[in-house]
Amino acid sequence: MNRRPTVKAGVVASVGALLVVVGTTAQAGWLFVLAAGVLGLVASGALSWHRLGGATVTRSAPARAQVGDLVPVDVVIRNDSRRRLPVMRLEDRIPAFEDLVALCEGIPPGAVSTANLPRRAVQRGVFDAGTVQLITAAPLGLLRTRRQVRVDSRVIVHPALIDVDGFPLPETPALTADEALAVARAGNGDVFAGVREYRPGDQRRWIHWRSTARTGRLVVREHEEPARSPVVLVAAGVGEHADHAASVAASIGLLALRSGRPLHCAGHGRFGEHVEDATSQSLLDWAAALEPSESRAEDAVEASFRRWGRRCAFVFVESVPGATRSAVMLARRRGAGVQVAFAGPEEPVG
């Protein structure tokens, strides 16, 4: 809680003191009365000791929103004190939304005021809390009290989507029969192909426990390669244009999903490095949480091959031209289909 006299109070007090001096010099008794009244304004301001600590503030917002959406956000102030809360200025600042500034009328003890003004989501990201500031200098504007509270309310704001309909999704050719025998067919296809012995590099979740128990050796499942190669969305080198990169990545990801392609996402974010078998929501959540990072795109490629097999098709989203060049070359050397989407200040370039 921060309390301090306003500039206006200083001016009024100075004028009051000046009137005392003038009253003394001019022998004018009424000036002492006038001065006392003026100083009385300031003194009564000091007596109006606002107890904003009695206000309990909560915020309720939709769990998810998209940049540009107008969403209902409720800020609720409950007066838990025994005294009336004065008229206040309510400032709700959470980076997800436009700031809310409202004039809040006095709240009687035990009453609740709700600021339910629709607000536009302006910032992609995952937000856990924001600050709510209550300011008042009631009634005369001479002693200002300011209380700032942290109000928790988790909001995931998805990036704005852009038109990427013409973006060519890459395709990785299917394995030849010989190649299929040479590699672990740990594909993501839905069709169960059989089991085989464990090889180094296989993931633990592929282990077929019943066969392992029966044989006493580690046995893993094999699935058919999917009919269409999965798209791996790699956001790397996004730098300062992370928001635009997230928009581009989310839009391309949705395009891939609409095209019926399995989708995996790779990139540093609040929800981890990878999202496997992304759905629309998990894709948008991943894009919302995407953060600039120092991790190399090549590492993402290697990890993708390890996790999702050889038949990945990569879409690299970069906002610094050439930032993913070595990763692109690596993927191409492995025979993967590759597309690079530039997410600088301009429109994405395929």
């Binding site: 100083l39 009564s44 609740v112 504007g141």
Partner: protein
């Protein structure tokens, strides 16, 4: 600094609040009306300015948004301001005193206020206008002498509080996108006027203002560069060398408003009443008797003043200096006074004690006894000022003065009529038999008269042929100020102490707010001056007390004066009065203590305990209570002084000390500034429920 100036002068958003504009206009109107009632503004000027102010405020509101043609208005206003300033400087040339500058200053401030009224687009401009309205009120305050100004003051502060409240709301609402009201209230269609807030602010402002008024020292400066004086409505009737008393009426003590004693002769046989008409207002740095006429010769029936022909001019131009031959020496206290004549007065300059410097426009002369006269009577509206001194030596200091024969010039103040009966002299000697010094003799006579004689305006008239003082002392035993003063002076003269009777006005009633002493016809008074070697003339009053020449804090701090008056009132009251006063004092003290307690946000310990015991509506707290109940059912109830942490630690055998997280959530919910997270609450409730179950089920 430049950035600050730029920011301060940056265009501000237009102020849309019409109530705020009305409140500011109300304050300005009140200021203008106060000036009018203080006679600083003529009726024609008042009407013109009120209309212009109204038009200006309307114009400012309608055209509050920025417009390209606004510069024309600004040029018009600038030219107007320059013109008003030129007029102000022009009017300064005709002024005689600095004091008179208040009138052109009022006109200038009013002009500026009117001009500024046309350019009030933003809240900042309205605030400025509100502030400058204070200048109008201040000037009116310096000119107001009666309580009428108080009405404007109350009205003005009403508007000021409304304007400040509305201005603050406007400030809070700057940039706001909406209005939030308590959930059960409907959203107003237009911004509400916060009557409740204004009303709630009024009482603390009034209380604080009253307290500050009582505490702020109201010391009046006693040094001036220039004191006010003016003839008001012009010269009165010519006095022709003597004293012309417009209220005098031969054969009667009172001629309507006037007192017959302000004449060349004061006849002790005259009786009658005095009216309560206001004679004059006196602005003075200290209370005093306002002396006008000095009487030197007593003929057994009346006192005679100085000869008509004896008055000599005191100078050519004001300020006039009092002749040195009449001046007293020794320790003196300076008093500065300004007299505002309300009813026509005799051609006499009243002054506290001995006038040193006189500011009067029509010329003054000093008679043979030191009285100051003017050529003609003083008409209503006349203003004059006097800087004077009064002897400030204490009784102890006067006792130490050596006994000296009075000089030749003072022999006239030992004059007594040959017909004065010896019994008067014998009485004087008898009364002062134990007194060794002159001052003790004066005090003894004063005390004797106060103790043995009654005061009455209807005292018997002395029969023809009998000495008036002898009749008062031995036959009537009743008299008023003239008899008391005459008896004192005559007895002192009979003891060889120079003494004289002087006439004038008593202090009058001081208006607490305006600070002026309001002197009425009934305050007309006569008292005594006694001469002391080396120190000169000192005032004594056997009828009433004369204000001390030098005062204490009670003269400047109203609270001390009020307490002092209260103390005197209580000390003179009977046992019942004292008991009532004690009860009232106790009640006031209790109220002040209660108010201070509330203001400081403290509560009594019992209330504090009760508040702490109030259960907070929280699911974790409720679950913890159920856990406590389960413990109580086992005979392991929580002790009053036991903390929740101690309870959890004591019962670790039930939960293996795994309930620390739940305890933490309980503490956050109970004592934390913010409620705990919902998921933490759920986990804590589950854990505490489980714990309660374990406690109940464990054998």
């Amino acid at each position: 600094m430049i950035e600050w100036i730029r920011r301060a002068n940056a265009p501000k958003p237009p102020e849309d609040s019409l109530p705020l504009r009305m409140a500011v206009l109300g304050a300005v109107f009140t200021g203008v009306l106060a000036l009018y009632f203080a006679e600083a503004v003529a009726t024609s000027s008042l009407t013109r300015n009120l209309v212009l102010l109204w038009i200006g405020y309307w114009f400012s509101y309608v055209y509050r948004h920025p417009a390209p043609w606004k510069w024309i208005v600004k040029i018009f206003l600038t030219v107007g301001a320059v013109f008003a300033l030129m007029q102000f400087f022009q009017s300064l040339k005709t002024l005689q005193t600095v004091d008179e500058a208040r009138f052109p200053l009022a006109t200038l401030f009013l002009s500026v206020q009117v001009l500024h009224g046309f350019d009030l687009p933003a809240r900042k401009d309205l605030n400025f206008s509100l502030g400058s309205s204070l200048a109008l009120m201040a000037i009116a305050g310096t000119l107001s002498q009666d309580s009428t100004y108080g009405i404007f003051l109350v009205l003005y502060f009403g508007f000021v509080m409304a304007a400040l409240t509305l201005s603050h709301r406007s400030e809070l609402a700057t940039g706001a996108t909406g209005l939030v009201v308590p959930d059960h209230q409907p959203l107003p269609t237009k911004p509400p006027i916060p009557w409740g807030d204004i009303g709630r602010a009024a009482l603390p402002v009034a209380l604080c203002g009253a307290l500050i008024f009582m505490l702020v020292p109201q010391s009046i400066a006693s040094q001036y560069f220039s004191l006010p004086f003016s003839l008001g409505s012009g010269l009165g009737s010519s006095a022709g060398g003597g004293i012309m008393n417009p209220g005098g009426d031969s054969g009667s003590r009172s001629g309507g408003a006037g007192y017959y004693g302000f004449d060349d002769r004061m006849d002790l046989s005259v009786r009658g009443d005095l009216s309560d008409d206001l004679m004059m207002r006196v602005r003075s740095s200290a209370p005093s008797m306002w002396k006008g006429i000095v009487f030197g010769t007593y003929d057994g029936r009346a006192w005679e003043g100085a000869d008509e022909e004896s008055a000599t001019p005191a100078g050519d131009l004001p300020p006039y200096e009092y002749p040195p031959e009449f001046r007293s020496l020794g320790p003196r206290a300076r008093i500065t006074q300004t007299y505002y004549v309300e009813t026509e007065q005799p051609n006499v300059i009243f002054a506290a004690g001995q006038p040193d410097t006189i500011w009067y426009e029509g010329g003054v002369s000093v008679d043979a006894l030191g009285g100051v006269r003017t050529p003609s009577t003083l008409t209503p509206g006349t203003v004059y000022s006097v800087v004077s001194t009064r002897g400030s030596a204490s009784i102890e200091e006067l006792r130490t003065l050596p006994k000296e024969d009075p000089p030749e010039a003072l022999q006239q103040y030992l004059q007594l009529p040959e017909s004065l009966p010896d019994r008067v002299v014998r009485l004087a000697r008898r009364i002062t038999a134990d007194a060794t010094t002159d001052v003790d003799k004066v005090t003894a006579i004063e005390n004797y008269l106060r103790a043995n004689y009654e005061y009455s305006l209807d005292s018997p008239v002395p029969p023809l042929g009998q000495d008036a003082v002898d009749h008062f002392l031995f036959d009537a035993d009743v008299g008023f100020c003239e008899q008391f003063a005459s008896a004192t002076a005559v007895m002192l003269r009979s003891l060889g102490i120079p003494a004289r009777v002087v006439a004038g006005y008593a202090v009058g009633e001081r208006n607490t707010f305006s600070g002026y002493y309001e002197v009425r016809a009934s305050d007309a008074h006569a008292w005594v001056e006694v001469w002391f070697p080396r120190y000169g003339w000192y005032e004594f009053d056997p009828t009433f007390a004369i204000p001390a020449a030098e005062g204490g804090l009670e003269r400047s701090i109203p609270l001390i004066a009020a307490i002092d008056a209260l103390r005197r009132m209580v000390s003179s009251a009977g046992p019942l009065g004292k008991a009532i006063a004690g009860a009232i004092a106790a009640a006031v003290l209790a109220f002040v203590s209660w108010f201070a307690w509330r203001a400081l946000g403290r509560r009594s310990p019992s209330k504090r305990r009760r508040r702490r015991a109030l259960p907070e509506a929280g699911p974790v707290t409720a679950a913890f209570r159920r856990f406590e109940d389960a413990l109580a059912a086992r005979g392991e109830a929580r002790a009053p002084a036991e903390t929740a942490g101690e309870v959890v630690a004591r019962t670790a055998r039930f939960h293996g000390d795994t309930s620390r997280a739940a305890l933490r959530v309980f503490e956050i919910e109970r004592y934390g500034p913010l409620p705990p997270r919902e998921e933490d609450v759920n986990e804590a409730v589950d854990e505490l429920e489980r714990l309660a179950r374990v406690v109940r089920e464990t054998p």
